[in-house]
Structure formats: C-alpha cells, structure tokens
C-alpha cells in the first residue's frame, strides 16, 4: 500500500517551489497518502495483459513537416510579459546555474 512520508512531501514542495509550513505539511501528507491509495486501486483492475500507458489513445509517430510557419512579432510575443527590455523578457535575478 502506497504511503507518502512527511519528509517526501516537504521534498516535493521544495522542488515545486511551494512554501509549506509545518502545520500545512502535517495536514497535507496524510491527504496525499489517501489520494495515492485511491489511484493505486487502479492496479487492482489492471490485468497482466494490460500494458502501462501514458497516453489515452494508442497513436504513434504524429509528425509535422519541416516547413516554416509565421512566428509572432516581438511585440506580440512580449505583450504578456510583466516586464521587458531590449526586446527581451525581463526576469528576476537568477539564482543557480543554467541547465
């Protein structure tokens, strides 16, 4: 039976940049366990002949021709940006490295 520990929830919250205090962790960890248990019950109905899948329909190889289509203008691209400068998206100071 799946179980998610309080430490694991804290780790996930950190990875997702969600700031949870102790009370919230106490509250959420058991809830997530229940959700995982519910999802796990799917395993009970899946027989050995049903392969695990990540997609609802069994399609493969949906490809696009390598043909250029018009892009947005820079004005359009930047229209939703909270801040821009030099025709670029302005983002807060980055901590850490490029990927």
């Amino acid at each position: 039976m799946p179980d998610i520990t309080r430490d694991e929830v804290a780790h996930l919250a950190n990875l997702a940049r969600i700031d949870l205090d102790d009370a919230e962790l106490d509250h959420l960890a058991p809830q997530l366990s229940v959700i995982l248990e519910s999802i796990a019950s799917i395993a009970d109905v899946a027989a050995a002949d049903i392969p695990p899948t990540s997609h609802a329909i069994p399609l493969t190889n949906v490809f696009r021709e390598d043909v250029v289509r018009p892009s947005l203008t820079a004005e359009q691209a930047l229209s939703g940006a909270p801040a821009s400068e030099q025709q670029r998206f302005s983002v807060p100071r980055i901590l850490g490295d490029e990927q």
Partner: protein, 497 residues
C-alpha cells in the same frame, strides 16, 4: 581564486583519469522541434517564437519529423541501436531559459543507444562507447544585466530571448572513457573532432562550436593509478572549441590531482571553463535541485520508427569516416604518417576543399598542416577559424606554381591575407611581392655576390657546385627574397662554368 595545480605529468603518473563527454548538437532543420518557428541564427530577439515555444496556455507541440530522421541517422552513424518505441519526457526545473518551466527531452527511453565511435590519436585507435543519443530542445539565451562581467553572479536581473528555445537538439552521451591515461585530454578532443566530421558528413548540423551549434560538457574524475574504482567527477559545462575540450580536461586532471594528493575530496559540481586562462571555476554543487521529476510528455505521442524506415535511412548513410579517409589518402598519395598529421591537425576537410579549388594535394597539405596550423596555434584559434579560405590557399599555391612567388614570398602573402589585406592577388600587388625574373637584375646581384666572395667563386669554378649555396644565399638576401632560388643557381653556374 587561484587553484593549486599539480604538474600534468606528475598527476598522470599518480592517477588514472576517467572521462565522460556530453555533446549537444543543434540540428540544421528549417523549423523548431515542436513548432513551425524558423531556427535561423542571428535574428532580432524574440522574433522567432509562437505560442507553442513560449509555452502559452492551450498551445500543443507536434514533433518535427525531419528532426526524428536526423536523430536516427546520427544514431546509426554512431553504430547505435534505434529504439523501436520511445517517448519524450518533461524535465522540470525553474530556470527561466525555458518559458514552459520544463524542457521537453527524453529520459529513460532515448531514441538511440549502445553505440561507439572509433577515434585516432597518434596513430592509435580508441573506441569511445556511446551510451545514448536522445532528442530534446534547446533553451533560450539569457543576458545578465548589472554585476561586473555580464555573468550570472552578481547580476541584478536577466533578459531572455526565446528565439533559440525549441531548436531541435541531439544530446550524445559517452560511457566512461577509461584507460587513455596521459592521452585522455587528446582522446576527448579527437572524439569531439571526429564527431564533428561525422555530423558534417551527415549534413544534419552546422556544427559551429563558436556559434554554439555544437557544445561539449566534459565530465572527469581521477582514481589512484591501478585502482578500478571511479572517483568523484566534476562536470565542466559548455566547452566551446576543440582546443578548449583538451585544455579543460588537462586542467581538471591537474586540479583534482592536487586536491586528492593533499588528502582533500573532490566536490561533485558543475564547473565553468574560461577561454582566457584555460582554467575552470566552481559553478553549482549537485543538489536536490537536480531532481527534475521527469515524466512522460502527455502532449506528444510516442515515437516508434518502423524497422523499414530505419533500414532505409541506414542504407542511405554516407561512407563511414574511416573509409572516406582511406580513400582520400589514396587519392592524395599521402603516406600514413602524412595522413596521420593531417587528421591530427583536423585539416582533412580543409585540404579536400583546397584540392577541389585546384591545388596539388601535397602543397595543400604543406600549407595547412605546417604553415597555417602553426599560425592557428600562435593565435590560440582553431584552424577553421583562421581568416583564410581553402580557395585563397589554392590561389596562393597557383602563384607559386606559376613562378610568381617562391615559398618565402608565399608566406608573406599568407601574412597579408590573414591580416585582412584582401585576396592573394591584391596582397601580391600591394606589397610588391612578385619574384624578380628579370635576368639583368639577377645578373647584377650575382656579380656583386661573386665579387664579395672570391674564394667561393673559385671553388665553383673548380667544379665544387655544392659551394653555390653560399652565393645563392647572398643573392637572395640582396634581392630581399624576391627571386627564384633555382634560377639563381642556374645563372651562377653558367657564369662560373
């Protein structure tokens, strides 16, 4: 911060290096990996984006079929297995170089895996095993504002251009390269150089390291000599020239050896290479942040290349590099040693182009391998980065063949072309470099030389023709090098017969 370094030879005497190389290659498709935006280099910022590559709500990606084809061809050329079925995956992180907050990549199901590439160093062949080659997309380009040097550290904020975000990228990952010992940095360089030639032959990428369309990360660790354990590794990111690949590996060997010798441990971290000093500095420590929570991309269906398609692509691959080189060597009439020097100088392609432009192969070899390689080393650049084209080298050789220039003058024409003085003809005219073929002027110079060296002249009259060298030297000096030494010799022997 100055690092303590152990001299390279001492480091190699005490430790065995293990290397892993990750090479990112931007494909030269017309459009991005998942949308129809152009991938052309050098466009104005944020003019090649759309809702899909900006990660706007409601947009859906569709895979570029041409990119899949290129990925399979690269895999096949690297002797890899091609997956019968594989998926894209989301790599989640918070760095703003991807507007989606994730990069669409592949995780445990790469399209190509288990291959190898043979590379040659000093006539010895090293087999570099390929773990995988997978498909992903490039990230945007950040400009860091404020702070001292435009670097990320100390910046106040950053400006992002997403033109590059979404360009098809293939990441090629080697297994640990072991047993290369002192040659490890040279093997790393030869691997990247060979890979570059292979990709050029496939016509799948521009492979311009200086433009970033091919980038290399160098993982390196040391283990005490003779031990079969692997040490803690560092990952030096974005090493952007062949020369830098070798230098970064050498530097890490010396740096890590000094730490280990002092009883300290190696920090598992990313490091940055600096072209100017040839050193690496600490980047980011490996941490929880490297948990990317990969999961299969729900917006894209799996890729399942049919075996017929793979076989078709395999049949149409160009001749393998090794065979291509053997054929070129035969065509050019080079000895094994000459060909080895050509390969080591990374000049195969340049010589091929120079020969195609009309130069004799041996002359093309002489200029690129001896003369121009030396100049590239002096300037600390790649041979291909020198501001001279194969056509210009062929043009200079044509002037030599026509008797307009001798080798010494030709070198001065190289000086001029490299200094940006224009085409060879223009340099010859502007610098007044043509050989003097006026026998009258030569005759006067010879008379002066004979007068100044009566004893030498006497020997030649006595039939000791070998002594002519001293007179030829004097005449060449008098003519400031602008004479054909062979003709001078003929004239001297005629006069003193």
């Amino acid at each position: 911060m100055t690092e303590t370094l152990m001299p390279y030879d001492d480091a190699i005497a005490a430790f065995d290096p293990a290397m892993g190389l990750e090479v990112h290659v931007e494909l030269s498709t017309n459009t991005k990996m998942f949308c129809g935006c152009s991938v052309e280099f050098g466009a104005e910022p944020n003019t090649q984006t759309c809702p899909t590559c900006l990660g706007l709500p409601g947009s859906l990606p569709v895979i570029n079929g041409k990119a899949v084809e290129s990925a399979i061809r690269i895999g096949l050329a690297l002797n890899c297995e091609i997956a019968e079925w594989c998926r894209m995956a989301r790599k989640n992180y918070f760095y703003p170089d991807m507007p989606k907050n994730f990069q669409t990549s592949q995780y445990d199901e790469p399209i190509a895996f288990d291959g190898y590439l043979d590379v040659e160093v000093d006539g010895e062949t090293y087999r570099v095993e390929i773990e995988r080659a997978h498909m992903e997309e490039d990230t945007g380009k950040s400009l860091h504002v404020g702070g001292a040097t435009g670097r990320i550290q100390g910046a106040d904020y950053s400006l992002v251009d997403y033109n590059r975000a979404g360009i098809p990228l293939i990441e090629i990952v080697t297994r640990p390269i072991l047993g290369a010992g002192e040659k490890a940095p040279a093997v790393a360089r030869a691997y990247v150089a060979t890979l570059r030639d292979l990709l050029l032959g496939l016509d799948v990428s521009d492979v311009r390291m200086e433009q970033g369309s091919m980038r290399c990360d160098v993982n390196l660790s040391l283990a005490p000599k003779g031990s079969d354990e692997l040490g803690t590794r560092t990952e030096t990111k974005n090493v952007n020239s062949l020369r830098s690949v070798e230098r970064a590996a050498r530097f890490e060997v010396s740096r890590q050896a000094a730490l280990l010798q002092a009883g300290e441990s190696i920090l598992q971290e990313t490091r940055h290479f600096h072209e100017d000093t040839g050193s690496t500095t600490s980047g980011r420590e490996k941490s929880d942040a490297d948990d990317y929570r990969y999961f299969p991309e729900p917006d894209l269906v799996p890729v399942a290349p049919s075996r017929e398609w793979v076989a078709e692509l395999k049949a149409a691959l160009p001749v393998p590099l090794r065979e291509q080189r053997a054929q070129l060597q035969a065509d050019w009439g080079f000895t094994d040693l000459e060909m080895r020097d050509v390969v080591a100088a990374e000049a195969v392609g340049l010589i091929a182009e120079t020969v195609a432009a009309g130069a004799p192969p041996q002359a093309a070899r002489k200029w690129w391998v001896a003369e121009l390689t030396r100049r590239a080393n002096e300037d600390g650049v790649e041979l291909t980065e020198l501001p001279i084209t194969p056509a210009q080298v062929a043009a200079i050789q044509a002037l030599v063949d026509a008797g307009t220039l001798n080798d010494k003058l030709a070198r001065q024409v190289f000086d001029g072309v490299l200094a940006g003085e224009g085409e060879p003809d223009a340099v010859v005219a502007a610098r007044g470099l043509a050989v003097v073929s006026d026998d009258g002027a030569l005759g006067e110079a010879i008379d002066r030389a004979i007068e100044a060296n009566p004893d030498v002249a006497e020997k030649i009259r006595d039939g000791k023709h070998a002594a002519a060298g001293a007179l030829i030297g004097a005449v060449m000096k008098d003519m400031k090098g602008q004479a054909d030494a062979g003709r001078v010799r003929e004239l001297i022997l005629e006069k003193l017969a």
